[in-house]
């Protein structure tokens, strides 16, 4: 302890190992379970090249389950991390990564591309994803420009208000699009409710890259986020460069959300409730809250995706429906208990 004179409540080594283990166990379970349950031995042998009881299992594991569960885990971690960061930054437990309206903006972009048939030459299927990314970025610029125009300090209440109004505007536009969409409705729903079916290793790679590129700066801002969560004016007084931190967190969280939406559609609720539940259990210190949220989000979304694809098999539920359903119920139970028991 000589080199760390202050106790700052970071995630210790033991819990880190424990949570990594939990995430791995969930990962393996989600790869093995589904519309077809595949034994652990077969999972092992498909991956490491042994005898498999049926040859189709090998391709299910390799080309369907593994990339899909990978994407679910990475997306869950990203969404939840962004939510935790934004809740701290805006000092509002109702905020999440999509509070800025980036998530609905991205969904609008994807829907536009589907209805108007916009594609990228050579990569026909990537049209919606590219448009989602573009619109996510456009929304962020628009919202930041508006907030900057009101006062130069990006006041948090302005940002929340602009984000909420922007989200409403975008969902109205989205409803108009859906009215004209005809038989393309299903693929639009795919973007607005989210789905992880047919994910590839490339997409998992993009998610991982995004998480490293934009998630790392978020982790590095944990002290600043603590200061923000205690109070923005107070943060300034203790020496936090308030505007720079605000911009960093908002840009990183929005970029990460944009990437997530462009890959899996806008999956509601993960970024809102997971950080909230982690905070109830472990306290609001971001040195612990951020990594724990990432772990818990990954585990939650892998399980939610498992439920989405196996509950009504062979039908598949939109994953956004599952996260909202399970999330809301679990959240109410935990929230009710904790509020009765004490304050967090």
């Amino acid at each position: 302890m000589k080199n760390s004179p202050q106790k700052e409540g970071g995630l210790g080594f033991g819990p880190a190992v424990l949570w990594t283990g939990l995430a791995l166990v969930t990962f393996v379970a989600c790869v093995s379970l589904g519309s077809v349950n595949i034994s652990l031995r077969d999972v092992w042998n498909s991956v490491f090249g042994g005898e498999v009881s049926r040859e189709t299992y090998r391709s299910i594991i390799w080309w369907t389950r593994l990339p899909r569960v990978l994407c679910a885990g990475l997306m869950g971690a990203a969404l939840s991390l962004c939510g935790a960061a934004m809740q701290g930054l805006l000092r509002n437990p109702l905020a999440d990564g999509s509070t800025l309206g980036v998530s609905s903006g991205a969904a609008l972009g994807a829907a536009l591309s589907i209805v108007l048939g916009i594609t990228i030459p050579g990569l026909e299927t990537a049209g919606p994803a590219a448009m989602a990314m573009l619109f996510a970025f456009g929304s962020l610029l628009l919202i930041l420009a508006l907030a900057w125009g009101i006062d130069r300090s990006f006041a948090t209440h302005n940002i929340i208000l602009i984000g909420v109004v922007f989200t409403m505007l975008v969902s109205a536009l989205l409803s108009i699009l859906i009215t004209f969409s005809g038989e393309k409705l299903r693929s639009i729903t795919y973007w607005t409710m989210g789905s992880l079916s047919g994910k590839s290793y490339e997409q998992a790679g993009v998610l991982l890259g995004g998480l490293i590129l934009f998630g790392t700066p978020l982790f590095l801002q944990s002290r600043e986020l603590n200061a923000f969560a205690v109070g923005e004016e107070n943060a300034l007084h203790v020496g936090v460069p308030v505007r720079r931190v605000k911009l960093t967190v908002m840009i990183c969280a929005s970029a990460l959300i944009g990437i997530c939406v462009s890959i899996g559609g806008s999956i509601a609720f993960v970024g809102l409730i997971i950080p909230h539940m982690v905070r109830l259990a472990a306290g609001p210190n971001h040195r612990k809250l951020l990594p724990l949220s990432a772990f818990a989000g990954a585990i939650f979304l892998m399980l939610a995706d498992l439920a989405a694809r196996s509950l009504l098999s062979p039908l598949e539920l939109p994953i956004g429906v599952v996260t909202s359903l399970i999330g809301a119920v679990v959240f109410i139970v935990i929230f009710y208990r904790s509020r009765k028991g004490g304050v967090r």
Binding site: P5, Q6, E8, R223, V230
Partner: protein, 252 residues
């Protein structure tokens, strides 16, 4: 140390502070007094870099707009009136934030005095037994003490305290002001306190700035500024007489 020249602050159309100049030197304890809306907290805000102003404020000759926030926080500690807990941080975690400006390097390790300064600040504010308490369970006075501890462990050269006695009971008020007096004895330090209690301002402050409707109504040595006549004209009531009446109620 800290010098303000021709300071003017406007909120929209309204001018809340008008052409104010002030010079705070080493060893001085300035109290800022005046009626509601006189611009006391606005002045504290401008000195604490949270309120935008016209004119110049310099710290040791350097324009404070040019000083990075972290560097400024190492020199000037500000206690504002606006703090309310939203999340359940522990007392210790909030006080910890006072050491933020002392971190250096990319990983921001290396604050060898950190733990000792925090212990000391907690002890001075009577919070030593409450380190692990949840901020959401504290009373107003306890929470005020937490933020006092935070600004103390920040270890600045100049303390700017906006209503430091807010919510504090009498023994703690007394303790606080004599503690600030002790703190000021170290060389290279100065204090500015915004306050309502004129008797405290007169007893503890070496200098006073009397504000009225955003303008200076007198500044200088506390004994010369805080006279019954000056207070009467600023507050538009017989302040001295009122205080005597209050005291006399105890004699019956």
């Amino acid at each position: 140390m800290l010098k303000a020249e021709h300071l003017t602050v406007r909120y929209g159309e309204k001018t809340v502070l008008k052409d104010l100049s002030l010079q705070v030197c080493e060893g001085e304890w300035w109290t800022v007094v005046g009626p509601n809306g006189a611009g006391k907290s606005t002045l504290a805000g401008a000195l604490g870099k949270t309120v935008s102003y016209e004119g110049t404020i310099t710290l040791e000759g350097k324009d404070i707009r040019q000083i990075p926030q972290q560097e400024y926080a190492r020199k000037v500690g500000v206690l504002s009136q606006n703090h309310s807990a939203v999340y359940g941080f522990t007392v210790e975690e909030v006080v910890n934030l006072g050491r933020y400006a002392r971190y250096t390097g990319f990983l921001r390790k290396g604050d060898p005095d950190g733990a000792a300064k925090i212990d000391e600040a907690l002890k001075l504010t009577g919070l030593a037994d409450m380190r692990k308490r949840n901020m959401l369970t504290l009373s107003g006075g306890e929470s005020q003490r937490v933020f006092l501890a935070q600004v103390l462990c920040q270890d600045p050269e100049i303390l700017i305290l906006d209503e430091p006695a807010n919510h504090l009971d009498l023994p703690f008020q007394q303790e606080l002001f004599s503690m600030i007096g002790e703190w000021l004895k170290e060389p290279g330090r100065a204090v500015i306190t915004v306050m309502h209690d004129l008797s405290l301002a007169r007893k503890y402050g070496s200098h006073a700035l009397l504000l009225n409707k955003g303008q200076c109504a007198g500044q200088g040595k506390a004994s010369e500024v805080l006279t019954p006549e000056a207070l009467k004209s600023v507050y538009d009531m017989d302040v001295y007489g009122w205080m005597r009446t209050l005291l006399e109620t105890w004699k019956e």
